[in-house]
Symmetry: C2
Subunit: 235 residues, 2 copies
């Protein structure tokens, strides 16, 4: 009855287990728990009103998601992201977003195409009004639509993972008005290429979009990472 997802996310966001998992995940992504901070099972359990068991299970999943690192018999620590990690992710993403856009040309549904088009128009409207929050929201949504449109559970899951991952360090990327206009432009190009089913162009512009986003982020120092995670031990 249910389709068999391959890389499946946590099955039910509304089960208790799912709630615990998502809450901790949110808290890490939002920055409530800082990098390298130790997460105590009992403390988090009490905060959420549950015992250690569901917390531990959530920890195991968060470890595989890469958000925390569990050292046996010691504890769970929020992972640090280095500048190189971010750079690597953007390079990987640039390839995969290109592939995603290519596949979307063949598999996008009319509904998804409509939403993508609407997204671009809305983003341009909010850009003209300087509505930063809405723009960030629309930017995220644009990519989600794209991921869903490629009609590949594998690729969609992968890209959503990476997307969430970089959100931890990409706090204010779109803050610059200049970049947000450029970004909207690039979204429009991607959208149009997909609409015209021009696979090569779609792949190329989606690829370039990531490269541009990355370079902007780095150029403006909008990426908060620790390059020397353990001061005093190495490098």
């Amino acid at each position: 009855m249910e389709n068999y997802d391959v890389k499946s996310e946590v099955t039910d966001k509304f089960s208790l287990r799912g709630r615990v998992f998502n809450k901790i995940r949110e808290d890490i992504l939002s920055g409530k728990y800082k990098e390298h901070e130790e997460l105590k099972e009992v403390a988090i359990g009490e905060e959420l009103g549950v015992s250690r068991t569901p917390v531990r299970e959530a920890f195991r999943q968060l470890e595989l998601e890469g958000l925390i690192k569990i050292i046996p018999n010691k504890g769970a620590y929020v992972t640090g992201i280095t500048t190189k990690d971010v750079q690597d992710i953007y390079m990987i993403r640039s390839l995969l977003e290109g592939l995603c856009a290519r596949w979307a040309c063949d598999h996008i549904t009319p509904e998804q195409m409509d939403e993508m088009e609407e997204n671009v128009y809305l983003a341009e409207f909010h850009a003209s009004k300087g509505h930063l929050d809405q723009m960030a929201e629309l930017d995220n949504r644009f990519h989600d639509i794209l991921y869903e449109a490629c009609d590949s559970k594998m690729l969609e899951h992968l890209l959503k993972d990476f997307h969430a991952y970089v959100l931890r360090v990409r706090k204010k990327t779109l803050a610059s008005e200049q970049r947000s206009n450029a970004s909207n432009n690039e979204h429009r190009k991607i959208m149009e290429a997909i609409k015209e089913k021009d696979k090569d162009r779609a792949e190329k512009v989606a690829h370039q979009h990531m490269i541009n986003a990355y370079e902007n982020m780095m150029k403006n120092g909008l990426c908060e990472t620790y390059d020397a995670p353990d001061p005093g031990s190495e490098q």
Copy 2:
């Protein structure tokens, strides 16, 4: 002291938790547990001589690895892999292996270069003798060396995941003598390109290597998947 891995694998393969996780993982990859088979916590716990708790935690991780799907209050089921999934993975891998080879040009250590060269020579030797097991082993190891040589924890982890994933369905890919010779040839080309630090060529041949492997697998029907995971419900 320890470096902070981003996408970290299960931390300690030799801890009890790690052992349970790896054992179940092995059993799925080896085919002991068939696709869509339900995994019972107590049964597996008894088999491994542990209680449900470690088994459950292993399940949570296996779910995120994509090997099983957990339906709340129902059970854990070995995921099915469709032909499309395999196809998608190979397309994704072809891009990422290309990137990996490119990065390896810059970051490979002399020791890794030596091992890769040795691997190629050994593989050719065993090919001439018809030693199938050793050839499969060397083939897997070649890719692992490549993944490690790119010096990117992110990419290495991703590719190792995918690699293990397709091993589930790619049982006898190298069985054909013709393909194994071609594969060795391609490995040699990758190795030589990296040795000469020719990034463009390295990326291209690594990319093509995946495409060829995929086409061979599909052409010969060496991929065992279920395309209709739930007979009678849809399609």
